[in-house]
């Protein structure tokens, strides 16, 4: 049974698991998928790639951003049976660029970053390991990335 306490202007309710099992009858406003103000995921409503998606980390903005965009765009719009098969050139270019900045794009690990993001982009996954250094945005801005990112730990916001 839940108990309610009033501490001045503050109300405290203790609830048991059973009580919360019943579905909520709280009403939430329906989401508008075309809301221009909303933060977008990797793919915009019009089908284009959202280069500013936090999930990409700094991939589109770093020194190899241009080649990354080319490669990924090619992949995204590819209509081949094996998606992206005609994009080898671009990916190669991107890889070459990344090799010039090993500090930014560590080659060994990083096949998986923080779950979600890389899954959205298999090609990136293969040829462009998400560099560790980039998560800063993910650290703090949950926006589109699966909420797990921000995590209570990383960069907390202190005063």
């Amino acid at each position: 049974m839940s108990s309610v306490k009033e501490e001045g202007k503050d109300r405290v309710i203790f609830v048991t698991k059973e009580e919360h099992e019943a579905p909520s009858n709280a009403e939430l406003v329906e989401e508008d998928p075309d809301d221009p103000y909303e933060e977008r995921g990797l793919i915009l409503p019009n089908g284009e790639i959202n280069w500013n998606c936090p999930c990409l980390g700094g991939m589109a903005s770093g020194p190899c951003g241009a080649s990354f965009k080319e490669a990924f765009s090619c992949f995204h719009y590819s209509k081949e049976e094996v998606k992206g098969s005609e994009c080898l050139e671009q990916f190669r270019g991107m890889q070459e660029c990344m090799q010039r900045y090993p500090e930014l794009y560590p080659q060994e690990d990083d096949k998986e970053t923080q779950g979600g993001p890389s899954e959205k982009d298999p090609s990136k996954h293969d040829s462009a390991p998400e560099p560790t250094p980039t998560p800063p945005v993910q650290d703090s801005s949950p926006s589109t990335a699966p909420a797990d990112t921000p995590p209570p730990s990383n960069s907390s916001a202190s005063g």
Binding site: E7, G8, K9, D10, R11, V12, I13, F14, V15, K17, H20, A22, P23, S24, N25, A26, E27, L28, V29, P36, Y37, E38, E39, W51, N52, P54, L56, G58, A60, S61, G62, P63, G65, A66, K69, Y101, L104, T132, P133, T134, P135, P136, V137, D139, S140, S141, P142, S143, A147, D148, P150, P151, P152, S153, N154, S155, S156, A157, S158, G159
Partner: protein, 749 residues
């Protein structure tokens, strides 16, 4: 006679119309040529009686001709102006191509005087380059070349004349000034004139596009003029020496006036970000993502590249690595290590290469402070008098820690034992202090104060460091958490080894017998070795005055609209921005995620997005292994709250939660290691939480304003932020908040 009369009759109308034309033109010519004016009035008379005699006729003819001539001249001038203006604009636009423009306008010499006023006007206002450079046209105007001219001649030959800071011994592009009859200066003529200048002639080329050519007088020039690829600020090149070697074939930029002067930094940045913190970096990233090839220049007065602040008061303190103070690396929630720096130095482009590098990039100018902003001229001035112009500017200056007046007035012995914590250097200093002293007192019970207290308290477990925390509120986070929770938190902080003194108002501070003595209003006296003052942040708005920007009187900071814009090309983000939140009203937020979100939004808007602040930022804090929460919106303890807590089970602690979900909060190792030690600073008891009565293990707290939820705290409940964000976004009145709480599944992990 008769012939004359007939002739006159025929000419009269012509004369009359030409005189009218004259009158009209005269107005135009007026400004140019006062001399002619006197003639005009005469024209009036001609419309009167057809004068009689040949003399008059001749006279009228002459007048008519002169007027027509004057009119023609005026017309040509005006047209020429337009052309010249257009040329200049084109040149400026084509600057990057370093194309040599055509021969400058060449007007009849006589125009000089006349031109001056007109020319300057259009050109100066519009040229993105600093005014001084444009003035070259008005060479007459003495070489103001004020000390630092960042030149960046709009590639007009005249520009060369522009002036490079004459201050330098280096023979900059000559300011052909000294001689020349300004106005009509062709590149060649300039060079000729410049011959006097040492090395100048050799260096001057028709189109000067030495953007990289810069003059700096300062030793602390961030970058080495010569193409030290990728090297970033930090080095103290000897700009001076390079400057001196005028004849230096500035190899920096291709095809141009070899910088006789060392290129220190660009004189123009399409995107200029003032401040090198989180908001600025987020904006830079956003701009680069949206505007391919963008050239972004960040100017910061710190010596460091952009870094994140939260670990400075949390993770870095819990690191096992003894060299953490130097490496500044910490373990993330997923176990991976990373540096506090957003990106390593190789990510950035060096300032002098910024304008040339093919795909643009982000350059950081460290150790430079922007002291003046000229909004009309779209440029800023640095502390060393360098000027940099911009197209779009972001002000992300953050703030500086506040101090207590009693400490400021307490004398040097006290102030040198006081830390105002904000930057990396403060972290390093405090780390050292914590090893060298026996007692540290933290004044302030908010986020920073409490986090530092817990961090130091944890450290005190291994040493005999005494950690005291004092603040005026009744409990830690008293201004954020409702009282019952604040009390609970205070108990936790105490169990971390901190001696917490609540309801403490500092009355006086002095240095006595080798100890800092803090006298409280109620008479208590605390003796300590070092003070850390965490009493708030003062937003840095010094630029408001010169830039003519509004400062908010309620919240402090620059007042901006919902799109974070202050004025047409100026945006503000981060701690310094007092913005309009469509949902929650005007506010100013000092949290990390807000800096990221607002920085990103500002970057988007600087590249044309025009989106308002809509995605609500969140914040979080961890005070030890048992107390962790995430929050969003307006979380002010003075608002009425409704808290829904789960009746606890053993599984409910941040530590347990993170282990289960794999999201490691911080170095658990430490927690476990000291779990059994007698010192209270380690984990208090493991799971079995105290009695249910006061157990606020996990739950959701809603903050209400006029019955609408404006803030939510997820207490020891993680990964539910999207739900919270949605509730705030809806802004609905909910009759039963318990129902809303169900949406969070607080009982699950």
């Amino acid at each position: 006679m008769w012939t004359c009369k007939n002739l006159w009759k025929k000419l009269a109308p012509l004369a009359r119309s030409s005189s009218t034309l004259c009158r009209q033109n005269a107005r135009g010519v007026l400004f140019n040529n006062e001399r002619r004016l006197p003639l005009v009035p005469q024209a009036h008379m001609s419309s009167g009686t057809p004068g009689g005699g040949g003399d008059n006729n001749l006279y009228y003819l002459l007048v008519g001709a002169t007027c027509v001539g004057g009119g023609f001249y005026a017309y040509r001038t005006i047209k020429g102006d337009k052309e010249r203006y257009q040329e200049r604009i084109n040149e400026i636009a084509s600057r990057p191509n370093k194309v040599v423009p055509e021969q400058p306008i060449t007007e009849a010499p006589g125009e000089q005087a006349a031109e001056t006023p007109q020319e300057i006007a259009p050109v100066t206002e519009d040229a993105p380059v600093e005014t001084p450079e444009v003035t070259p046209i008005v060479e007459e105007v003495s070489p103001e070349v004020a000390a630092v001219e960042q030149e960046d001649p709009p590639t007009t030959p005249e520009a060369e004349i522009a002036t490079e800071s004459v201050v330098e011994p280096a023979p900059e592009e000559s300011v052909g000034m000294p001689d020349a009859d300004p106005v009509v200066k062709s590149a060649r003529s300039v060079s000729e004139e410049a011959v006097e200048q040492p090395s100048a002639p050799a260096l001057i080329e028709p189109s000067v596009e030495p953007s990289p050519v810069e003059v700096t007088e300062e030793p602390p020039a961030p970058v080495e003029p010569t193409p030290v690829a990728g090297s970033l600020p930090a080095e103290t090149a000897e700009p001076q020496t390079t400057t001196e070697s005028a004849a230096e074939p500035a190899t920096v930029a291709p095809a141009e006036v070899p910088a006789p002067t060392p290129v220190e930094f660009p004189s123009h940045a399409p995107y200029l970000l003032i401040g090198g913190g989180t908001a600025s970096f987020a904006a830079a990233r956003s701009i680069r993502a949206r505007d391919p090839g963008a050239r972004v220049l960040i100017i910061t007065d710190e010596p460091d590249l952009p870094y994140m602040r939260p670990p400075l008061s949390k993770e870095l303190w819990f690191s096992d690595d003894p060299s953490v103070v130097d490496t500044l690396r910490f373990k993330q929630w997923n176990g991976k290590e990373r540096s506090i720096y957003f990106q390593p130095p190789s990510f950035y482009v060096s300032p002098q290469d910024l304008e040339k590098v093919e795909n643009g990039g982000v350059a950081v100018l460290t150790g430079k402070k922007v002291v003046h902003m000229d909004v009309r001229g779209n440029k800023v001035t640095l502390s060393d008098d360098t000027e940099i112009s911009y197209d779009k500017c972001l002000i992300a200056t953050g703030g500086i820690p506040r101090n207590l007046q009693v400490i400021e007035r307490a004398g040097e012995e006290v102030t040198k034992r006081t830390t105002l914590f904000r930057k990396v250097e403060d972290f390093k200093a405090l780390d050292k202090v914590s090893r060298d002293t026996k007692s540290i007192t933290i004044i302030g019970g908010g986020f920073l104060g409490s986090e530092l207290a817990c961090a130091l308290g944890r450290r005190s477990a291994d040493s005999d460091l005494e950690v005291i925390q004092m603040f005026p509120e009744k409990g830690n986070m008293g201004k954020v958490l409702p009282e019952y929770l604040s009390n609970w938190t205070t108990a936790k902080v105490k169990s971390e080894g901190v001696a917490v003194i609540t309801e403490a108002l500092v009355k006086a501070v002095s240095f006595k017998d080798g100890k800092v003595e803090i006298k409280l209003k109620d008479g208590r006296v605390v003796k300590t070795d070092h003070i850390v003052a965490a009493v708030g942040l003062e937003p840095s708005v010094e630029l408001a005055k010169s830039a003519g920007l509004e400062v908010d009187s309620d919240f402090g900071g620059f007042r901006v609209n919902a799109e974070l814009q202050a004025r047409s090309n100026i945006w503000v983000a981060g701690d310094a921005a007092c913005f309009y939140d469509i949902r929650l009203g005007r506010r100013r937020v000092e949290h990390h995620d807000h800096a990221v979100v607002s920085g990103r939004l500002a970057g988007e808007n600087m590249t044309g997005a025009n989106k308002p602040y809509w995605h609500q930022s969140m914040f979080w804090s961890d005070l030890g292994p048992d107390v962790g929460y995430e929050a969003i919106g307006i979380v002010d303890s003075s608002l009425p709250t409704v808290g829904v807590f789960a009746k606890a089970t053993a599984k409910d602690t941040p530590k347990a939660a993170t282990e289960k979900s794999g999201t490691g909060i911080r170095s658990e190792s430490e927690t476990e290691g000291t779990a059994n030690s007698p010192v209270a600073s380690s984990t208090p008891e493991p799971p079995p939480v105290p009695e249910q009565k006061d157990n606020y293990g996990k739950g959701v707290i809603f903050y209400l304003r006029d019955k609408v939820v404006v803030g939510i705290i997820l207490w020891n409940v993680f990964n539910r932020m999207p739900v919270a964000r949605k509730i705030i976004k809806d802004g609905e009145e909910h009759a039963d908040l318990n129902e809303v709480a169900k949406l969070f599944n607080i009982h699950d992990d």
